[in-house]
């Protein structure tokens, strides 16, 4: 048994930042992660992190960022978190620089910022299109010298509680296949996303929603789970790369969307709330890309939910590309600038390689084929906006696994900044918590029961193949709870989810316990099911279309639905209950900010 003050689950941006902060406060920290250090999903982030530093456009400040984020989230966000985020992101980015990060520069030698959907001014600090790598490497290289202990390739399967409070975590060691117990006074959940519950996704194998599920079963609340972000531009061809992300940075650098008729269809449908912020024609859109402060953004840089739906509409109307997407064209900028090829390769190097190597497409010359892909979950563990603690004493959460910052839809770039702002807060408050609360004993009965459940698939070597269930689950969610939703389809999804639960009881694995991916998949499945159920039940309950949720049977926004968040909680009988909770009220000074920015 290991003993720590704080256990951080996850070594993505949020987990590492939290671990650094807690270590700095002088408490004993352990970090547990499923992959090797430095490989967490954060490494894949491309476009940048949002922080209103005003380096490129000095009209930018925290108030504009605050208003942009609230508008993007359709006012279901927790304003306290949005305020923390907008105010503290610039300092967190500068701190990364002091730890060795090397961001792209402006001509004056400051950190360069780029345009992204839904952000009024160029706001994303970035490094080409590999910002996530820079973030995770910086935190990793700084973190290993701060005294934290890192447990790689270990998976937490249960949060242990005693008298309702966190007492530790139970997990297994991938290499040896053995169970381990970590005793802890506080746990910080930083497990990232849930994309693997869908068949077309930009997410890695790790994103099975473990943290969402672990927290839920330990008594925490899952909020806003109906809001799953479908990124408008994933690769669609060849089939084996389907879903892999094409960064919004491509559009930020001037890439445009066209249908099979060659038309820039995004101009056709600009939502009311954004009308006076969008370019009136192609020429103005290009001026914006070039940094003209008097120009408005091209419609390709509207929020992701909207762009994804427009693409979906074009495809459904038969104006799609040969492989069921639409065209994304960055090569066209050669009409506008000399050396366009070199410019594109410098600004978007990994996109260039990704398409060249995986699809045989030279993006400086040819159009890309793109379509929506499951990307991010706005919903997650409900936390206190100031401390990041959930309703389970001692359980904190930060990063994608947390709800509150993004409301109904996340703006691109707001996640990487989320990780460092709230990772820090969670680390700070978890350290405070352990200083004023003694440890509680681990309950052996919990450990035993969970261990038995985890090992059960080995007793059924001829049971059902876990990969088959996983695939059926992913297809069900994709087809029935995807971009466009209806009551009927979601009800049939719930029936299927019940069937998967039954099939899960008969799942079997063969082979050894050491590094056995079949067994790991069997362990991930219950988490994926819990997450899928919470998404489906919440989406059914929200009878409107708002942000990332589009209901064909309720295509409009409803004022009433704008007054509450949905919260899923485990009832005493073990069933999932979804209830309404009034949105966190906005202070009057913050209301004034919103008014001012209208």
């Amino acid at each position: 048994m290991h003993e720590h003050d704080v256990i951080v689950i996850g070594a993505g941006g949020a987990g590492l930042r939290a671990a650094i902060e807690a270590s700095a406060a002088g408490v004993k920290v352990g970090v547990i992660c499923k992959s090797l250090l430095g490989k967490a999903h954060t490494v894949m982030a491309e476009g940048g992190m949002a922080a209103a530093m005003g380096n490129v456009d000095d009209r930018d400040n925290w108030e504009v960022h605050f208003a942009d984020t609230m508008r993007g989230g359709q006012y279901l966000n927790n304003p306290i978190m949005v305020e923390h985020h907008a105010k503290e992101a610039p300092a967190r980015v500068l701190e990364l620089e002091s730890w060795g990060a090397v961001f792209d520069r402006t001509k004056e030698g400051k950190i360069l910022q780029r345009n992204f959907g839904g952000h009024r001014y160029p706001r994303l600090a970035h490094v080409g299109d590999r910002t996530g790598l820079e973030l995770i490497r910086t935190l990793q290289d700084h973190g290993i010298h701060q005294g934290m202990e890192v447990f790689m390739e270990m998976t937490v399967v249960s949060l242990l509680t005693t008298g309702g409070r966190i007492s530790g975590v139970l997990g297994y060691d991938r290499e040896r296949g053995r169970m381990r117990i970590w005793k802890a006074k506080a746990v910080i959940m930083a497990t990232g996303g849930i994309g693997k519950s869908f068949s077309v996704t930009s997410n890695s194998w790790e994103c099975t929603g473990d943290g969402h599920s672990l927290a839920y079963h330990a008594g925490a609340e899952l909020m806003d789970m109906e809001f799953v972000q479908f990124h408008p531009t994933g690769m669609v061809w060849p089939p084996s790369v389907r879903g892999i992300l094409v960064t919004e940075g491509v559009r930020g650098e001037g890439g445009v969307l066209r249908n099979s008729e060659g038309k820039r269809f995004m101009f056709d449908d600009v939502p009311e709330a954004y009308r006076n912020q969008v370019a009136k024609d192609e020429e103005e859109g290009w001026r914006y890309v070039c940094g003209d402060k008097n120009a408005n953004r091209p419609p390709e840089l509207l929020t992701r939910d909207h762009v994804a739906r427009c693409i979906n509409r074009e495809i459904k109307a038969g104006r799609g590309s040969p492989h069921g997407g639409v065209f994304l064209d960055i090569g066209w900028i050669k009409e506008k600038i000399p050396n366009a090829s070199e410019h594109i390769k410098r600004k978007l190097p990994s996109m260039y390689h990704q398409f060249m190597q995986l699809a045989g497409v030279d993006i400086t010359q040819e159009r890309m084929e793109v379509g929506p892909t499951t990307h991010y979950v706005m919903g997650g563990v409900a936390v206190d906006g100031d401390t990041q603690m959930s309703c389970v004493p001692g359980l904190f959460a930060a990063g994608e696994v947390t709800a509150g910052l993004n409301g109904a839809n996340r703006l691109g770039g707001n996640s990487l900044s989320d990780l460092i702002v709230f990772g820090k807060l969670a680390g700070e408050h978890a350290a405070k918590f352990v200083k004023s609360n003694a440890a509680v004993e681990v309950d052996p009965a919990q450990v035993e029961a969970k261990t038995r459940a985890i090992e059960a698939p080995f007793e059924r070597p001829n049971g059902e193949n876990p990969y088959a269930i996983q695939q059926d689950l992913q297809n069900t969610m994709q087809d029935l709870v995807g971009i466009v939703r209806t009551q009927k389809e979601m009800e049939s999804a719930l029936v299927k989810l019940d069937q998967f639960k039954a099939r899960l009881k008969n799942v079997g694995v063969s082979g050894h316990r050491e590094y056995n991916p079949g067994w790991h998949t069997a362990i991930d499945l219950p988490c994926m099911l819990t997450v899928s159920e919470s998404i489906t039940r919440s989406a059914l309950e929200r009878k409107e279309s708002r942000g990332a949720q589009f209901r064909e049977d309720y295509p409009d926004k409803s004022a009433e639905c704008g007054t509450f968040n949905l919260v899923a909680k485990k009832a005493p009988d073990g069933s999932m209950q979804v209830s309404r909770r009034p949105v966190v009220p906005m202070r009057s000074d913050l209301k004034a900010v919103i008014e001012k920015m209208k």
């Binding site: 894949m44 060795g100 792209d104 790598l133 590094y515």
Partner: protein, 250 residues
């Protein structure tokens, strides 16, 4: 390429106590990469076949292996770039101890990194705690920071692979990592003595095998190792510099 063709695979199965190649066969269709095939074999024929991967897009550096004897990323190796009528051999990186199947023990790399003196910036240039740095001053460092820590260069370097100098030599990845710190415009630390004595930069005889396998196309040898070798020579062996240092009392 045909919409689908039958391909034979030889995949190494085993652990630290040894193992053997096993044969598998499957249909391969357009655009598939080696990692897709391994996954398909896992899902349909060998659920306990161990391999590492995360991003499937060449960004995380998890899926390193040796394909037909060549160290590369499984997720970035397209099937249609391999000879069509030949068996495809997939084995783990051979320089590292085996854990299981395609998974190796790369913990040496993490230990090495921890020994290298961390980044130590000069005082901020500006009142808000920021620094002024120009793009042209950081281009080189950014090239090095593209490294995804796939450790393919470590795998292929003969100082590690054939001579097992793990205790005296940090390998190309970390020589380059040190170079990135040394060339960072804000850094004030000095790592040259470590490079010379502890890190074994002298073992590198510039064969450039590391550079050839780097999936990020980083000029490891030319842009990082050679300049560091020159700095070491300048500081420790060049008589004029030595004299100068004596006078400066450094």
């Amino acid at each position: 390429m045909d919409p689908s063709r039958r391909v034979q695979f030889r995949i190494w199965r085993g652990d630290k106590n040894g193992g053997a190649f096993q044969n598998y066969e499957m249909n391969v269709s357009e655009g598939m990469v080696v990692l897709d095939c391994v996954h398909r074999i896992q899902a349909e024929q060998a659920p306990d076949l161990a391999c590492r991967w995360n991003c499937k897009a060449g960004k995380c550096g998890s899926c390193s292996a040796e394909i037909n004897g060549k160290p590369c990323l499984m997720c970035m190796t397209r099937m249609d770039t391999l000879p069509p009528d030949q068996v495809v051999t997939v084995e783990p990186m051979r320089s590292f101890p085996s854990i299981r199947d395609l998974v190796t023990d790369v913990s040496w790399n993490f230990r090495v990194k921890k020994k290298i003196k961390p980044f130590k910036p000069r005082k901020p240039d500006n009142a808000d705690g920021s620094w002024t740095m120009f793009q042209e001053d950081i281009d080189r460092v950014q090239e090095f920071r593209k490294c995804i820590e796939c450790f393919l260069c470590q795998d292929v370097c003969h100082v590690v692979r054939d001579h097992h100098k793990e205790e005296e030599f940090i390998g190309p990845r970390f020589l380059m990592y040190t170079a990135a710190l040394e060339m960072h415009p804000l850094d004030t630390e000095d790592r040259l003595a470590d490079l010379k004595d502890r890190d074994g930069i002298g073992y590198c005889n510039i064969t450039k095998c590391c550079t050839k396998v780097c999936p990020e196309h980083i000029g490891i040898t030319d842009n990082a190792i050679i300049p560091m070798k020159e700095r070491v020579v300048d500081q420790f062996y060049d008589p004029l510099t030595r004299l100068f240092r004596m006078f400066k009392g450094k």
